[in-house]
């Protein structure tokens, strides 16, 4: 008997005896899928990102957003920013700093070249699908032009989020996720809720243990 059959048959011995219906997850979730928010959703979001060690910027149009990124890169002494073309479009063009699009990266070099570029004082910018006020996190997705390492091997990670895409409660994203994962294609999504951090030495908080030291959400009010 294979291990698979062995395990399943042992489980079936119990499930057949217990005879309990599968949970109706949707209706159970329906009982709790709302959260009473007296405070403003955007304010709560900002406050909770900051509480988790992240930062939040805000811009009212594309120009302001682009300038904000330029200032950010200078402030942290970074050498370049790397982003998908779609993000540069959202910003109405490339910031006046060393800006590299991920499309150029993949045309130009090997995985090793890409890593070297990201590891050298870079800032990675990704677009976020949504943000969540109850936990202060954003949801980002890996795509061919937005690789995993762009928010990982860099010094700083900026997630661009439309202010209108902030939900009050994490379960609000359930249907979207359900849809995202409904095909049979590989998928890779990540909730990012702060910089890379640890408290493993005497519970002292240290940022940038393996990944970015800085995590920032840039809100687009437009």
């Amino acid at each position: 008997m294979s291990d698979r059959e062995y395990i399943l048959s042992r489980i079936r011995k119990t499930t057949a005896r217990v005879q309990k219906a599968a949970p109706d997850a949707a209706s159970i979730m329906g009982r709790i899928s709302s959260v009473p928010h007296t405070a403003d959703v955007v304010d709560t979001f900002i406050q909770r990102v900051e509480h988790a060690g992240g930062k939040v910027g805000r811009s009212k149009d594309a120009d302001e957003a682009r300038q904000w990124i330029e200032a950010y890169i200078q402030r942290y002494g970074l050498k370049r920013c790397v982003a998908p073309d779609a993000v540069f479009e959202l910003l109405g063009g490339r910031p006046e700093t060393v800006a590299v699009s991920t499309a150029e990266l993949s045309e130009r070099g090997t995985a090793h070249d890409m890593q070297t570029l990201l590891l050298d004082a870079a800032c990675g910018i990704t677009a976020a699908h949504a943000g969540f006020a109850d936990c202060g996190a954003v949801l980002i997705e890996t795509t061919p032009d937005s690789p995993r390492t762009i928010s990982l091997l860099v010094e700083a990670h900026i997630a661009i989020l439309r202010t209108a895409d902030i939900h009050d409660f994490l379960p609000g994203i359930g249907p979207f996720l359900q849809h995202q994962f409904s095909s049979s294609e590989p998928r890779n999504l990540t909730f990012v809720g702060g910089p890379s951090k640890t408290a493993d030495i005497e519970k002292t908080l240290v940022k940038g243990v393996h990944g970015p030291r800085e995590f920032t959400v840039l809100l687009l009010d437009f």
Binding site: P186, T190, F191, V206
Partner: protein, 472 residues
């Protein structure tokens, strides 16, 4: 006590370990600071929700239903994971899991493996096994890395190096990594970052655990703060994920609920820095990510737990560690005293099944039965009841001490009936007069010989309150 001679202390000698730990002031200081700050942070973020109790009971209901239909969910998960390009393996026990991992690593000619934190791989001693096979397997979670360098076991589910002071870590790094001595957590972290970054970039394979497995899409979810989990699953060509059969959830909607419960309960965060949802290996045009994803589904004693009508609910555990933090016994003796990978109340409940009675049969005694664990558990596992259940099983296996057996039966009865609660105090005080005398050690074999156990109070708090409380 007579019981002490009668019952052999288990090989992993609980008593000695406890004695050693209890007199270690550094450990006690670390422990109490860490557990109390985590509990305070937890209380803060739990207060966000007026419906926290409803969330707990919803989670418990979902998990109960999944566990009662586990075969269906596992098959569904497997089918969906495979359709996205993952390879699914099944392992009946630790040895089977080890050899599957070894086979995969041999097939891809791996020499260096990066591991992200996972209790399940600790349980099957995977790192140790790989080392024996001549494969370098580096723990990359900072706490686990420290523990690995020191050649120790983790002492907490979510904070493995909780037992070590900065001085000890400074000394360890200086000795093992040949660096200048520093005790500064920031500097020590930076050193580990440099060492481990090299490993990430060179590793042939990454091994991770799984926090949740979503059945209806074949997705695995990994929850962490450091980014080592993401790096382990982004850089190496092969990703191996090891999960217990109990990790299943029905769908994404339920997952969002469990994410909120897990982060708040474990570290007092609203969400961790990184929560990765991974379905299949890299997509064809992705610039990074693993070519191959292997998922190993592990039994290793879990179907024994499933079979036991009382213990079954312990499979609902999401390994948040809250029951450890809140346990007065854990706070005093720390994780190592339990002598096993899983410590604290949940460790005492599941370890006899996962690690064997020989190793862990006695663990359920490392508890004061105060019930704080059951109160805090985000999935409402009745740990208090399960600890008693495990103690009874232990006594039955040992043949037992008749007086203890009788007391237990009575105690179990009173626990189940609130009306009898006041009687149980009486029972305790009665036991005190039987076992107390001048040598006040508990009738629990090998547990508290060197500790003077306080004599049970002559009157219960309830009685005193009745007599004096109304005077105000």
């Amino acid at each position: 006590m007579s019981g002490q001679k009668k019952v052999q202390v288990t090989p992993r000698n609980l008593k000695l370990l406890v004695q050693e730990r209890i007199y270690n002031p550094q450990l006690r200081k670390n422990l109490s600071r860490a557990t109390s700050t985590t509990l305070a942070k937890r209380a803060d973020v739990v207060a966000d929700f007026t419906q926290w109790e409803e969330m707990r009971s919803a989670a418990s209901e979902i998990k109960d239903g999944v566990i009662a239909n586990l075969d269906t969910y596992l098959e569904q998960f497997e089918e969906n994971a495979v359709s996205a390009g993952a390879t699914v393996h099944w392992a009946a026990d630790a040895q089977a899991a080890q050899s599957i991992v070894y086979q995969i690593l041999r097939d891809c000619d791996a020499k260096l493996v990066v591991k992200s934190k996972s209790m399940t791989t600790e349980e099957i001693r995977l790192g140790h096994f790989l080392e024996e096979q001549g494969i370098e397997a580096v723990e990359t979670d900072l706490g686990e890395y420290i523990v690995q360098l020191a050649g120790e076991l983790p002492s907490h589910i979510t904070a493995p190096a909780l037992h070590k002071s900065r001085e000890e870590i400074g000394e360890l790094f200086a000795k093992k990594l040949g660096i200048d001595r520093t005790n500064d957590p920031e500097a020590l972290t930076a050193i580990a970052r440099d060492v481990l970054r090299e490993k990430f970039l060179q590793a042939d394979a990454g091994i991770s655990g799984v926090n949740f497995a979503v059945a209806d899409s074949g997705t695995i979810c990994i929850v962490e703060n450091e980014g080592n989990g993401r790096l382990s699953t982004a850089l190496p060509k092969t990703h191996i994920a090891v999960m217990g059969i109990e990790k299943l959830l029905p769908d994404m909607q339920s997952l969002t609920l469990f994410l909120q419960l897990l982060a708040r309960s474990s570290t007092g965060q609203r969400i961790t820095s990184y929560t990765s949802l991974i379905r299949g290996p890299k997509a064809k045009d992705d610039l990074d990510g693993p070519e191959d994803l292997h998922i190993i589904i592990l039994d290793n004693g879990r179907t024994d737990i499933l079979e036991d009508d009382d213990l079954r609910e312990s499979l609902n555990c999401i390994r948040c560690g809250a029951c450890l933090n809140t346990c007065p016994v854990y706070q005093t003796i720390g994780g190592h005293s339990y002598g096993t990978q899983y410590s604290g109340p949940i460790g005492a409940v599941i370890s006899p099944s996962l690690l064997g009675v020989e190793e862990a049969g006695k663990m359920p005694y490392a508890s004061s039965l105060c019930g704080a664990c059951a109160e805090i558990c985000p999935v409402q596992i009745d740990l208090h009841h399960l600890l008693l259940h495990q103690r009874r099983k232990y006594i039955e296996r040992q043949g037992g001490n008749p007086a203890e057996r009788l007391l237990f039966r009575l105690w179990m009865m009173t626990m189940k009936h609130a009306a009898l609660y006041s009687v149980s105090g009486l029972l305790g005080r009665l036991a005190g007069t039987i076992f107390g005398g001048s040598n006040r050690t508990l009738p629990v074999p090998g547990w508290s010989k060197s500790r003077e156990f306080p004599a049970p109070a002559p009157k219960s708090f309830k009685q005193l309150w009745k007599e004096h409380g109304s005077e105000r």
